[in-house]
């Protein structure tokens, strides 16, 4: 009998409808990942008990952990399912949608708020226009390495998922957007409107709602120094508030 992989998937047909678990037995192939399991289920949408079902809905795109799309909870831990290798997972493998975002269907959730939050913090360099104005500012190599790390944030939502202060009763913007504010405030041109980003972080749901649990640091698949970003932005917000108070 061929070796199989047991996969339990939390199913939900639409927002607000009942949840259920379904278990599948997927043929094992060497070096398979969770995405491959879900693809096998598409080709043969039958549960381990032999009951016909629908293919599992999930969001995926690049499959090499740079786009952030396929984030879900694998064996209790939030991560990208593409880089979740079956050989390294305990079975049955359980797959569930993230809990801090509304479920669309099965494993797909709506992370739209994360993109709106990037508008709130004015997450861009305010260039004058895209016509030819010559090179940008010179930047030291060390500085580039520091901001490059911040700029690899793929808006996957892992940091929000593990943050106790991101929940249905709070409007906390979460670590990702705060770190992005730091990214743009570090750029010589971005720094020119740093104050506007700090203003955004002072609003309700802003940086003051961070409870310093530090779970985000651990959860970030790109190892972005999120707690350092929150610390730096916290200090800048305080200084900014004092300056505003003094009218300087």
């Amino acid at each position: 009998m061929p070796q199989t992989v047991r996969v339990r998937v939390r199913r939900q047909d639409r927002p607000g409808s009942d949840e259920r678990w379904e278990e599948f037995a997927v043929p094992y192939v060497p070096s398979m990942n969770v995405i491959y399991c879900l693809m096998e289920i598409q080709r043969n949408p039958v549960t381990a008990a032999g009951v016909k079902t629908t293919p599992v809905v999930w969001e995926a795109h690049c499959l090499e952990e740079v786009c952030g799309a396929c984030t879900m909870i694998v064996n209790g831990r939030v991560r990208q399912s593409c880089s979740a290798l079956v050989d390294k997972l305990e079975q049955p493998i359980t797959l569930a949608p993230m809990t801090k975002f509304p479920v669309v269907r099965d494993l797909q959730v709506n992370r739209g708020r994360m993109f709106s939050d990037l508008i709130k913090i004015k997450g861009w360099i305010p260039i004058q226009g895209t016509y030819d104005l010559g090179p940008g500012p010179r930047i030291a190599s060390d500085q580039q390495e520091e901001v490059y790390k911040l700029s690899t944030c793929m808006t996957c939502g892992c940091c929000l998922e593990v943050c106790p202060n991101v929940n249905s009763r709070s409007s906390f913007i979460g670590p990702a957007a705060i770190s992005q504010a730091r990214l743009f405030n570090s750029h010589p041109t971005g720094a020119m409107n740093a104050g506007e980003r700090l203003d955004a972080l002072m609003e309700p749901g802003g940086i003051s709602e961070c409870g310093n649990a530090q779970n985000c640091l651990e959860a970030c698949p790109k190892e972005i120094p999120l707690t350092t970003s929150i610390g730096t932005m916290g200090r800048d917000v305080t200084l900014h508030a004092i300056r505003k108070l003094l009218g300087t």
């Binding site: 080709r43 010179r138 041109t189």
Partner: protein
């Protein structure tokens, strides 16, 4: 100027660049994308973006970049647009720099450049080894700024089903599907841009992202848009084999000094690091002493394929060769290649700083695409295209790090053309023929209902898997007419099987199976364009290699393939290629001296006489 209404389909580099330009000119843009635009496939581009900024004292220039690109593409590209792109390249890199792209820097704080395939110059700007991601994010941020200002409206998790044509055959908008509630909508526009990316998913497993099916351009093709050079598919020499996808291992690994080798003795199964230097065969360096590991992709791919498949010299007899970085300092590797090494580590579980990587070629890029004129307009007036979905900039083989450039340049040219086109027309989005939107939406909605009711024995994902395996086996590195013919026959059989699909999901909320089934048909139609184009091109040029016809045949085939849909299959005709700037010459990378560099320079001088040298700072 009156405010115009534009639709951009696709939110990768080309679509975002065009969106920015349209919004910057004060026009409204509806941006339609399968995925949140920040997750578009451009995110996968690793190595860098080319532009002859010449900061390394090498005497590089945009005209030499132009020559490298035309020569690398085996003279199949129309030359004037390629020259435009290469001349614009330094300005584009500076623009991205101003947008805050985190490019690597020199000790002086200037942009750093590295070498890539098919050139002898350090011409590639890069941000670690996730350059595409970094550039995509910068453009995404600029679009967000226009979104905040109310000029751009995003339709994410939406899909463009096809263009809307009026009686005169002009494109007047698109029909789009909200993939969440499966509702179908007609959307009017003064001009429409397709920036929908490549079609590599036709090959099943490739280096592409899951949505790169070519479905939107296939739909336009089936409605009359010409498709050009479909048979030119780039197979990247170095990818990591995988069960769900073949992950790219960037050319930048070789640009930074990575070496490709196999053990000299077949079946030598010692650990790679214990094999002495003299017992390793650096087959690219041996055959191409000057370009070494940085020959153009089609050539590197054929050599690796030959070593493994014909000579049976792959590692342990498998289809794999070593890509070795272990002789390079770890700090350099981390700083310049961190992103891709992390991918190898995460997906293979081996640290490529300590142990040579095992790689094999994989389908990577489509040089061909929807036919466009020099203004990026398709054969359907009012419909424009930019980025990988069109055919214009890479000829028969694309040079590494030219794709990000062609996306951004194509997006810029398209936006300017769309504004001009819309400004010059009497009728636009505001005065469509009555009922055109509703009747077109109804037609597509009807098709969706019919697919939704399909109840046969076939599974769409199973057909797709077979399609991918068949295309990979028969229409990639080495092509043979008998096998191409058999492949086309099997495609027809698959189209028959498609009609007997049973939809695995009857729900009307986020029904991915229904969406995929419709796209699968479009993939099959486009696959025929690739196969029939390859069958009829009896020569070898760039990525298209037929041992029966081993030479380039300029007399018969220095021509753009043009495929037009018909009931009986793709009708193929050929257009002359504009070679007015660089006379075609034989493409040879095996020379040992400085002939190539001199030849490129001479060619650039000949053609550059009297023309501005392009931006050099």
């Amino acid at each position: 100027m009156a405010k115009q209404k534009h639709i951009v389909v696709g939110g990768g580099l080309a679509g975002l660049m065009a969106t920015i330009r349209l919004a910057e000119a004060g026009h409204e843009v509806s941006l339609i994308s399968f995925v949140p635009v920040k997750r578009s496939h451009s995110v996968c581009a690793q190595g860098g973006i080319n532009g002859a900024v010449n900061t390394k004292g090498e005497g590089d220039s945009p005209d030499i970049h132009f020559d490298d690109t035309i020569y690398g593409g085996d003279f199949l590209a129309n030359q004037p647009p390629v020259r435009g792109m290469c001349r614009a390249a330094p300005g584009i890199i500076y623009l991205l720099d101003r947008m805050g792209v985190t490019f690597n820097r020199t000790s002086e704080g200037l942009l750093d450049f590295r070498r890539f395939g098919g050139t002898l110059y350090n011409r590639t700007a890069f941000a670690g080894a996730t350059t595409g991601q970094q550039i995509l994010y910068a453009l995404d941020e600029q679009v967000r700024r226009h979104e905040a200002a109310g000029l751009v409206k995003k339709f994410e998790f939406w899909e463009c089903l096809g263009p809307i044509l009026d009686d005169a055959g002009n494109c007047r908008g698109v029909v789009a599907l909200d993939q969440t509630d499966m509702s179908v909508h007609g959307m009017a526009a003064d001009a429409v841009l397709f920036a929908t990316g490549g079609c590599g998913i036709i090959y099943g497993k490739s280096t592409l992202s899951t949505t790169c099916t070519g479905t939107a351009v296939s739909s336009a093709y089936q409605m009359g848009a010409a498709y050009a050079n479909g048979e030119f598919i780039q197979v990247h020499p170095t990818a990591i084999p995988g069960t769900d996808k073949l992950r790219l291992m960037s050319e930048s690994a070789r640009g930074e000094g990575g070496r490709v080798w196999v053990p000299r003795r077949a079946g030598d199964n010692r650990a790679p690091k214990s094999i002495p230097e003299a017992e390793r065969r650096y087959f690219l360096e041996e055959k191409y002493p000057k370009y070494g590991n940085l020959v153009p992709r089609d050539i590197a791919t054929r050599e690796i394929f030959d070593i493994c498949v014909n000579q049976k010299m792959g590692i342990n007899g498998e289809r794999a060769v070593y890509l070795d970085l272990t002789h390079l300092p770890r700090t350099t590797l981390d700083r310049k290649l961190g992103g891709i090494l992390e991918i190898y580590e995460k997906f293979v579980g081996v640290d490529p700083r300590d142990e040579p990587m095992k790689v094999f070629p994989a389908v990577h890029y489509s040089m061909g695409g929807i036919w466009v004129d020099f203004d990026q307009m398709c054969s359907l007036p009012g419909l424009f295209a930019a980025g990988e979905c069109e055919y214009q900039y890479h000829g028969a083989n694309r040079l590494g790090a030219n794709s990000l450039l062609s996306c951004i340049y194509g997006g810029q040219v398209a936006a300017a053309s769309m504004i001009r086109y819309a400004g010059g027309r009497k009728s636009g989005a505001g005065d469509l023929p009555p009922n055109l939107l509703t009747s077109e939406a109804g037609r597509w909605s009807g098709l969706q209902d019919r697919i939704g009711r399909m109840a046969g024995p076939e599974n769409p994902y199973v057909i797709w898997k077979e399609l991918g395996e068949m295309m990979t086996d028969n229409v990639t590195v080495v092509r043979d007419n008998a096998r191409l013919k058999a492949t086309d026959d099997r495609l027809l059989a698959m189209m028959d099987r498609w009609r007997r699909i049973g939809l695995p999901d009857s729900g009307r909320h986020t029904n991915q199976g229904l969406v995929f089934t419709r796209q699968l048909w479009n993939m099959l139609e486009l696959a025929r364009v690739i196969v029939v184009g390859a069958l009829q091109r009896n020569e070898s040029r760039g990525a298209h290699y037929k041992p029966e016809f081993p030479d380039r045949d300029d007399a018969s085939f220095l021509k753009t393939t043009r495929a037009v849909w018909s009931q009986a299959g793709p009708r193929i005709t050929y257009d002359a290629v504009d070679t007015s700037l660089i006379p075609p010459r034989k493409r040879v990378y095996t020379t040992t001296g400085n002939e190539d560099k001199k030849e490129a320079k001479n060619a650039a001088d000949r053609k550059g006489a009297g023309a501005p040298a392009g931006p050099t700072r």
